[in-house]
Symmetry: C2
Subunit: 147 residues, 2 copies
Protein backbone atom coordinates (compact mmCIF):
# COMPACT_ATOMS: atom_id res chain seq x y z
CA UNK A 1 0.00 0.00 0.00
CA UNK A 2 1.29 3.44 -0.92
CA UNK A 3 -0.19 6.70 0.32
CA UNK A 4 -1.30 9.92 -1.37
CA UNK A 5 -1.19 13.40 0.17
CA UNK A 6 -4.74 13.15 1.53
CA UNK A 7 -3.85 9.94 3.35
CA UNK A 8 -0.92 11.36 5.34
CA UNK A 9 -1.19 13.32 8.57
CA UNK A 10 1.28 14.74 11.10
CA UNK A 11 2.39 12.07 13.55
CA UNK A 12 2.11 9.15 11.12
CA UNK A 13 5.17 6.93 11.50
CA UNK A 14 6.78 4.39 9.20
CA UNK A 15 9.64 1.96 9.79
CA UNK A 16 11.93 0.46 7.15
CA UNK A 17 13.61 -2.92 6.89
CA UNK A 18 17.20 -3.28 8.15
CA UNK A 19 20.46 -3.05 6.20
CA UNK A 20 23.77 -4.40 7.52
CA UNK A 21 26.79 -2.27 6.54
CA UNK A 22 29.67 -4.46 5.38
CA UNK A 23 33.28 -3.23 5.37
CA UNK A 24 33.58 -4.01 1.65
CA UNK A 25 30.53 -1.83 0.89
CA UNK A 26 31.89 1.03 3.01
CA UNK A 27 35.17 0.90 1.06
CA UNK A 28 33.46 0.57 -2.33
CA UNK A 29 31.26 3.63 -1.79
CA UNK A 30 34.21 5.63 -0.45
CA UNK A 31 36.42 4.63 -3.38
CA UNK A 32 33.85 6.03 -5.78
CA UNK A 33 32.48 9.07 -3.97
CA UNK A 34 34.40 9.95 -0.80
CA UNK A 35 37.97 8.62 -1.01
CA UNK A 36 39.22 9.86 2.34
CA UNK A 37 41.58 7.56 4.30
CA UNK A 38 39.23 7.07 7.28
CA UNK A 39 36.54 5.70 4.92
CA UNK A 40 38.94 3.40 3.05
CA UNK A 41 41.32 1.75 5.46
CA UNK A 42 41.12 0.48 9.06
CA UNK A 43 44.67 1.59 9.92
CA UNK A 44 44.10 5.09 8.52
CA UNK A 45 40.80 5.20 10.41
CA UNK A 46 42.59 4.48 13.69
CA UNK A 47 44.87 7.46 13.09
CA UNK A 48 41.97 9.83 12.36
CA UNK A 49 39.48 11.84 14.40
CA UNK A 50 37.19 8.78 14.24
CA UNK A 51 39.71 6.24 15.61
CA UNK A 52 38.43 3.54 13.22
CA UNK A 53 37.07 2.84 9.72
CA UNK A 54 33.72 4.62 9.35
CA UNK A 55 31.24 4.91 6.50
CA UNK A 56 30.97 8.12 4.49
CA UNK A 57 28.03 10.16 5.71
CA UNK A 58 26.80 10.23 2.11
CA UNK A 59 26.87 6.45 2.07
CA UNK A 60 24.67 6.36 5.17
CA UNK A 61 22.31 8.85 3.52
CA UNK A 62 22.18 6.75 0.33
CA UNK A 63 21.44 3.58 2.31
CA UNK A 64 18.66 5.41 4.16
CA UNK A 65 17.17 6.41 0.80
CA UNK A 66 17.28 2.80 -0.39
CA UNK A 67 15.53 1.65 2.78
CA UNK A 68 12.83 4.31 2.28
CA UNK A 69 12.36 3.46 -1.41
CA UNK A 70 12.10 -0.26 -0.52
CA UNK A 71 9.02 0.37 1.60
CA UNK A 72 10.25 2.40 4.55
CA UNK A 73 8.37 5.47 3.30
CA UNK A 74 5.38 4.26 1.26
CA UNK A 75 4.47 7.32 -0.82
CA UNK A 76 2.40 6.85 -3.98
CA UNK A 77 4.42 7.77 -7.07
CA UNK A 78 7.75 7.57 -5.27
CA UNK A 79 9.94 9.71 -3.06
CA UNK A 80 10.75 12.99 -4.79
CA UNK A 81 12.71 15.19 -2.42
CA UNK A 82 13.19 18.92 -2.85
CA UNK A 83 15.44 19.27 0.19
CA UNK A 84 17.04 17.51 3.13
CA UNK A 85 18.65 18.84 6.29
CA UNK A 86 20.91 16.06 7.62
CA UNK A 87 22.96 15.79 10.80
CA UNK A 88 25.53 13.03 11.15
CA UNK A 89 25.35 12.25 14.85
CA UNK A 90 27.28 9.03 15.37
CA UNK A 91 29.76 7.03 13.29
CA UNK A 92 28.58 4.07 11.19
CA UNK A 93 30.95 1.12 11.39
CA UNK A 94 31.24 -2.19 9.53
CA UNK A 95 28.69 -4.62 10.95
CA UNK A 96 26.22 -1.92 12.02
CA UNK A 97 22.61 -2.72 11.19
CA UNK A 98 20.65 0.33 10.12
CA UNK A 99 16.96 1.07 9.78
CA UNK A 100 15.02 4.26 9.14
CA UNK A 101 12.08 5.64 11.09
CA UNK A 102 10.09 8.38 9.36
CA UNK A 103 7.50 10.63 10.97
CA UNK A 104 5.23 13.01 9.08
CA UNK A 105 5.71 16.51 10.49
CA UNK A 106 3.65 18.80 8.28
CA UNK A 107 1.48 18.71 5.15
CA UNK A 108 1.78 21.77 2.93
CA UNK A 109 -0.69 21.90 0.02
CA UNK A 110 0.81 23.48 -3.09
CA UNK A 111 -0.30 27.03 -3.85
CA UNK A 112 0.31 26.61 -7.56
CA UNK A 113 -0.76 23.00 -8.21
CA UNK A 114 -3.92 21.55 -6.72
CA UNK A 115 -2.80 18.01 -7.64
CA UNK A 116 0.02 17.85 -5.13
CA UNK A 117 1.67 19.24 -2.04
CA UNK A 118 4.85 19.20 -0.04
CA UNK A 119 5.36 17.14 3.11
CA UNK A 120 7.96 17.72 5.81
CA UNK A 121 9.17 14.40 7.20
CA UNK A 122 11.63 13.55 9.99
CA UNK A 123 13.71 10.61 8.74
CA UNK A 124 16.07 9.21 11.33
CA UNK A 125 18.51 6.38 10.74
CA UNK A 126 19.10 4.17 13.78
CA UNK A 127 21.66 1.45 14.46
CA UNK A 128 21.20 -1.92 16.19
CA UNK A 129 21.45 -0.22 19.60
CA UNK A 130 18.69 2.25 18.73
CA UNK A 131 21.14 5.15 18.48
CA UNK A 132 20.34 7.75 15.81
CA UNK A 133 23.37 7.79 13.50
CA UNK A 134 21.73 10.44 11.34
CA UNK A 135 18.72 12.64 11.86
CA UNK A 136 17.23 14.37 8.87
CA UNK A 137 14.32 16.51 7.89
CA UNK A 138 13.24 15.92 4.32
CA UNK A 139 10.81 17.85 2.16
CA UNK A 140 9.06 15.63 -0.36
CA UNK A 141 6.51 16.28 -3.15
CA UNK A 142 3.41 14.10 -2.78
CA UNK A 143 0.48 13.80 -5.21
CA UNK A 144 -3.16 13.96 -4.25
CA UNK A 145 -5.13 10.81 -4.98
CA UNK A 146 -6.30 11.05 -8.61
CA UNK A 147 -10.08 11.51 -8.85
CA UNK B 1 47.92 23.19 -0.50
CA UNK B 2 45.35 22.41 2.18
CA UNK B 3 44.12 24.89 4.74
CA UNK B 4 43.72 24.83 8.51
CA UNK B 5 41.06 26.68 10.52
CA UNK B 6 43.26 29.74 11.04
CA UNK B 7 43.77 30.05 7.29
CA UNK B 8 40.08 30.23 6.38
CA UNK B 9 37.91 33.34 6.50
CA UNK B 10 34.36 34.23 5.51
CA UNK B 11 34.12 35.01 1.81
CA UNK B 12 36.93 32.66 0.74
CA UNK B 13 35.83 30.78 -2.37
CA UNK B 14 36.99 27.52 -3.93
CA UNK B 15 36.08 25.86 -7.21
CA UNK B 16 36.27 22.15 -8.05
CA UNK B 17 37.08 20.32 -11.24
CA UNK B 18 34.21 19.20 -13.50
CA UNK B 19 32.44 15.84 -13.63
CA UNK B 20 30.30 14.71 -16.57
CA UNK B 21 27.26 12.63 -15.57
CA UNK B 22 26.87 9.62 -17.86
CA UNK B 23 23.54 7.78 -18.25
CA UNK B 24 25.18 4.50 -17.22
CA UNK B 25 26.44 6.08 -13.97
CA UNK B 26 23.01 7.55 -13.24
CA UNK B 27 21.43 4.11 -13.64
CA UNK B 28 24.16 2.32 -11.66
CA UNK B 29 23.80 4.62 -8.65
CA UNK B 30 20.01 4.39 -8.80
CA UNK B 31 20.10 0.60 -9.06
CA UNK B 32 22.06 0.44 -5.85
CA UNK B 33 20.64 3.28 -3.76
CA UNK B 34 17.52 4.87 -5.28
CA UNK B 35 15.78 2.39 -7.60
CA UNK B 36 12.88 4.59 -8.67
CA UNK B 37 11.75 4.34 -12.31
CA UNK B 38 12.59 7.97 -13.21
CA UNK B 39 16.25 7.34 -12.17
CA UNK B 40 16.52 4.02 -14.03
CA UNK B 41 14.82 4.27 -17.38
CA UNK B 42 14.31 6.99 -20.00
CA UNK B 43 10.77 5.87 -20.87
CA UNK B 44 9.73 5.77 -17.22
CA UNK B 45 11.33 9.18 -16.76
CA UNK B 46 9.19 10.62 -19.55
CA UNK B 47 6.07 9.41 -17.77
CA UNK B 48 7.10 10.97 -14.43
CA UNK B 49 7.00 14.42 -12.86
CA UNK B 50 10.47 15.00 -14.36
CA UNK B 51 9.56 14.14 -17.98
CA UNK B 52 12.93 12.43 -18.51
CA UNK B 53 15.66 10.29 -16.91
CA UNK B 54 17.22 12.28 -14.05
CA UNK B 55 19.95 11.48 -11.53
CA UNK B 56 19.06 10.67 -7.94
CA UNK B 57 19.57 13.73 -5.76
CA UNK B 58 21.78 11.58 -3.53
CA UNK B 59 23.92 10.77 -6.55
CA UNK B 60 24.39 14.47 -7.26
CA UNK B 61 25.31 15.00 -3.60
CA UNK B 62 27.82 12.12 -3.71
CA UNK B 63 29.42 13.50 -6.90
CA UNK B 64 29.69 16.92 -5.24
CA UNK B 65 31.47 15.30 -2.30
CA UNK B 66 33.90 13.58 -4.66
CA UNK B 67 34.63 16.88 -6.41
CA UNK B 68 35.26 18.55 -3.02
CA UNK B 69 37.50 15.71 -1.79
CA UNK B 70 39.46 15.83 -5.06
CA UNK B 71 40.55 19.40 -4.38
CA UNK B 72 37.36 21.45 -4.62
CA UNK B 73 37.45 22.15 -0.88
CA UNK B 74 41.10 22.00 0.25
CA UNK B 75 40.79 21.46 4.01
CA UNK B 76 43.76 20.04 5.91
CA UNK B 77 42.96 16.60 7.33
CA UNK B 78 39.97 16.09 5.07
CA UNK B 79 36.31 17.02 4.91
CA UNK B 80 34.49 15.82 8.02
CA UNK B 81 30.90 17.02 7.89
CA UNK B 82 28.59 17.16 10.88
CA UNK B 83 25.60 18.35 8.88
CA UNK B 84 24.33 19.43 5.48
CA UNK B 85 21.20 21.28 4.43
CA UNK B 86 20.64 20.49 0.74
CA UNK B 87 18.10 21.80 -1.76
CA UNK B 88 17.68 20.04 -5.08
CA UNK B 89 16.85 22.95 -7.39
CA UNK B 90 17.09 21.61 -10.94
CA UNK B 91 17.23 18.14 -12.49
CA UNK B 92 20.57 16.56 -13.41
CA UNK B 93 20.47 14.76 -16.74
CA UNK B 94 22.85 12.48 -18.61
CA UNK B 95 25.56 14.58 -20.25
CA UNK B 96 25.40 17.37 -17.67
CA UNK B 97 28.79 18.64 -16.54
CA UNK B 98 28.88 19.51 -12.86
CA UNK B 99 31.26 21.47 -10.71
CA UNK B 100 31.10 22.74 -7.14
CA UNK B 101 31.70 26.24 -5.84
CA UNK B 102 32.24 26.55 -2.08
CA UNK B 103 32.23 29.75 -0.06
CA UNK B 104 33.22 30.01 3.59
CA UNK B 105 30.34 31.57 5.53
CA UNK B 106 31.38 31.46 9.17
CA UNK B 107 34.19 30.17 11.40
CA UNK B 108 33.06 28.85 14.77
CA UNK B 109 35.90 27.97 17.18
CA UNK B 110 35.08 24.93 19.33
CA UNK B 111 34.17 25.67 22.95
CA UNK B 112 35.35 22.27 24.12
CA UNK B 113 38.42 21.66 21.95
CA UNK B 114 40.99 24.38 21.31
CA UNK B 115 42.55 22.31 18.49
CA UNK B 116 39.66 22.65 16.11
CA UNK B 117 36.48 24.45 15.12
CA UNK B 118 33.43 24.20 12.94
CA UNK B 119 33.05 26.01 9.62
CA UNK B 120 29.80 26.78 7.82
CA UNK B 121 30.28 26.54 4.06
CA UNK B 122 27.92 27.18 1.15
CA UNK B 123 28.57 24.41 -1.40
CA UNK B 124 26.67 24.86 -4.63
CA UNK B 125 26.74 22.43 -7.53
CA UNK B 126 26.43 24.07 -10.94
CA UNK B 127 25.87 22.60 -14.38
CA UNK B 128 27.47 23.57 -17.71
CA UNK B 129 25.01 26.48 -18.07
CA UNK B 130 25.95 27.86 -14.63
CA UNK B 131 22.59 26.84 -13.13
CA UNK B 132 22.70 25.69 -9.51
CA UNK B 133 21.36 22.12 -9.56
CA UNK B 134 21.85 21.87 -5.80
CA UNK B 135 22.58 24.45 -3.16
CA UNK B 136 23.80 23.25 0.21
CA UNK B 137 25.08 24.57 3.47
CA UNK B 138 27.55 22.23 5.11
CA UNK B 139 29.03 22.28 8.56
CA UNK B 140 32.53 20.85 8.66
CA UNK B 141 35.06 20.21 11.47
CA UNK B 142 38.42 21.84 10.72
CA UNK B 143 41.65 21.52 12.73
CA UNK B 144 43.85 24.40 13.81
CA UNK B 145 47.38 24.31 12.41
CA UNK B 146 49.46 22.12 14.76
CA UNK B 147 52.03 24.20 16.67
Amino acid sequence: VTLYLDELKPGDRFMSATHRMEAAEIRAFATQFDPQPFHLDAAAGRGSLFGELVASGWHTAAIAMRLMVDGGLPIAGGIIGTGADIRWRAPVRAGDELHVVCEILEILPSRSNSNRGSVRIACNTLNQRGEAVTTAEMRVIVSRRPP
